[in-house]
Symmetry: C2
């Protein structure tokens, strides 16, 4: 790549190292589906450490390229890449060497692949955040150990196929190969880095629709893609999370289309395209932009802010709280009244036609509490570090959800360069916390973890 | 009262009616501690209806006095009174007849008394929102039926004593009798209506400290006062909610004291007094003011905004989510990790040394979800009705928590007069929803409630 564009090669010697470290840590975990207490601990440590080490090493190309003014900036960009967040400190993206920008997009793609493996193979066996409920069937889970290699291989193929398909569709729309690959990396990993200053805004409507569709596809549980490949369509039809995910996209998409159409002088097609692109981008936590939603009528960007807490489906590269957890929370809300009217009958909650145990239910509700508490604490910290309220709280929401842009001074048309170094480090930590589903990281600082 | 001040008597003929209706509905419920399915339903209906009817009738004095320009304004003020919220549409309070202002403060006092009976006697037997956990001992609960009259009478005495004690302390500080009674009504019911335009701001530091102390006392679970009267101090020492409540007040009080002292040119005493008055006022959901926190450094009023979600203790007249529920949520957050490290051992959660069943735990977590969802939905509705974001979301937070003032255009130095009629009706509904702990009201519109 660097050779083709006649740019310095040195930074990319490190790429090999990083991919190797990543692969090694993932491989090390992959073998142990049934984990003893000791191995569980090792697994927790490895997951968090691997993201940190990879981010540290991954920031080296930025530093060596000379394009990033300080270590904190390079580290922020690297964490933002590997966690597939896509928040950037670059003020003029296009002034950077193409090879550095390519590496930047590639961090997304590597991070996204790591996430798919993490949430579909590693987390269910660690029993974190109810993941065993959302991924493969329980009957399948139990015998996943021998099948683990074939599942892993299939997931990799699906990830590759989505990337390739998008590249082809983008090429058809006259985007050049380099930009097509970068944007495909950013979409499939729901990352959001673009080699262009205006993100997807400068491209044709066709390109914008293509990216919208691929963002939506990438926010779907990869287990659904897996079923699609295996032609088990009845399992897809049974999936409540998928229905809820599509419902939220359609509902908020049309709501904002209406707001843009009636309250501004946009044509219907433009309102529709702008709305659905931004809605898909925020819900799937991608963070690409074709419009600055801060220039929309106020109601529009309030909705965008709330969508930051939705997140895509479990088992995808999307971040946030995720649809299945919201769905379980909604079911609880409904369930309360049913139980109050039938205090003696025990009616179990179900998701995707699978009963949820009390323990799992509690784990999911508590996850949402953790998420909101961290959001409030992080927002307050950012205010103390000197940000205005909109920037503070939206930067935390966007970092935890792995989205990219926020509100205030970090909107889709701005960047994170002007924040203090302390703020950048805090946001980097929140990106990792959100990406690794909070529990994995917080676990490491509980007294129970280190005891005996 | 009206006779003493030589004002029209007519509006107050209605007072008797209202107090009668209130008393009757409370009395009707009081007898039935063990409720059959049929009686449970009747109880739900009666509770919500009694608050509505009382508020409707209670708005008549405002209308007849001619001081309120429209029915919606009078109704808003009445709901705000009986729910002990204390948000007002009056722009110049002191221009009103003293008798109307006295009635206004009295609605708080009546509403507060109703709440104490509701949350300590009625709700535990309906098993709403985990109330059976927070009030009297379970052993006590089971044999509460025969004791119900004596408990009710004792609670009434405590309520009366707190009111009387505050009146005496205020009189000592040279406040006149009329204002002392009004402010004592507003404090003990954690209501917040004041007959003065500047609330407590115009009084001496002594008066401000007295009101602070009585706000804190009124935000304590009345069961604690009950134990204090019965000299069962070991039960008070065991009460985790009380400790948590005092901790939150002290922590946020000193935090804001520090902010005011170091970031403004206030003396330490002024910073301390202003901080603790406002913190106590918001946490206990009273809503009196001695300072406009919107003029504080930004960090200060962000903290105030978050405190709006805390609420006082369960079993008090305070609103909001309430300390015990936050405490249970925090315990869950801690518990998750303990469970992840001991996946096979079942360690039950406890509050006030009482084990929490899975069902109760779920009910509490779901209550918090309901609260936050309603807050978001209500805030969005207010934005659609034309408010700016700070006004919209803080008006909903303040209405649901029964606090009084908010941020934006409804700060402590402003009022709710400028809002649209639709907004006032929406906020009135949210006040009743928050006051009756959501479930009681929402229950009425579930299909399960009306079935069979
Ligand atoms: K992203
Ligand atoms: K109040």
């Amino acid at each position: 790549m660097a050779l083709v564009y006649d740019e310095p090669v040195l930074p990319f010697v490190y790429t090999a190292t990083i991919v190797f470290v990543m692969a090694a840590s993932v491989y090390g975990l992959r073998g142990s589906a049934e984990l003893s207490s000791f191995h569980r601990r090792e697994a927790y440590l490895s997951v968090t450490l691997s993201w940190l080490v990879v981010s540290l090493v991954g920031s080296l190309p930025y530093l060596f390229s000379g394009a990033f003014p300080s270590f904190v900036n390079a580290f922020f960009e690297s964490v933002s890449g590997f966690t597939t967040t896509g928040s950037s400190i670059l003020t003029d993206i296009e002034s950077l060497p193409k090879s550095v920008l390519f590496w930047r997009s590639m961090t997304h793609w590597i991070g996204g692949l790591g996430i798919i493996v993490l949430v579909i193979i590693i987390m269910p066996s660690l029993n974190i955040g109810g993941y065993n409920l959302f991924t493969l069937e329980s009957s399948f889970q139990e015998k996943i150990h021998p099948k683990i290699k074939s599942v892993g291989r299939r997931l990799l193929y699906i990830y590759l196929s989505l990337t390739l398909a998008e590249i082809i569709f983008l090429l058809i729309g006259d985007m050049n190969l380099y930009e097509s690959v970068c944007h495909a990396f950013g979409t499939v990993a729901t990352g959001g880095f673009s080699p262009k200053n205006t993100s997807i805004g400068g491209y044709s409507p066709y390109i914008q629709y293509v990216v919208t569709v691929f963002m939506v596809l990438s926010g779907v549980n990869f287990v659904i893609h897996y079923y699609a490949v295996k032609r088990q369509f009845h399992k897809i039809r049974q999936n409540e999370e998928l229905k809820f995910y599509l419902f939220v996209i359609l509902f908020s998409g049309f709501l904002i289309t209406g707001i843009l159409y009636f309250q501004t002088d946009r044509s219907f097609e433009l309102a529709f395209r702008e709305s659905f692109f931004q809605v898909a981008s925020i819900i799937t936590c991608t963070g690409f932009a074709t419009a600055d939603y801060l220039l929309w009528p106020a109601v529009g960007w309030y909705i965008i802010f709330f969508l930051m807490f939705f997140g895509g489906s479990t088992g995808s590269t999307a971040g946030g709280i995720k649809m299945a957890r919201h769905l379980v929370a909604l079911k609880n809300v409904r369930h309360t009244f049913r139980m109050m009217n039938a205090p003696n009958g025990v009616i179990p909650l179900r998701i995707n036609h699978r009963p949820i145990s009390y323990q799992e239910n509690n784990g999911i509700l508590t996850f949402i509490l953790w998420y909101l508490m961290l959001f409030l604490a992080g927002g307050l910290l950012m205010v103390f570090l000197g940000s205005d309220v909109a920037t503070a709280f939206s930067s935390v929401a966007t970092a935890m959800g792995g989205i990219g842009p926020g509100l205030g001074t970090i909107g889709p048309a701005s960047n994170f360069a002007h924040l203090s170094e302390a703020s950048k480090i805090a946001l980097s930590a929140l990106m990792v916390l959100g990406r690794l589903e909070i529990y994995t990281v917080v676990m490491l600082i509980t007294p129970w973890f280190w005891k005996n």
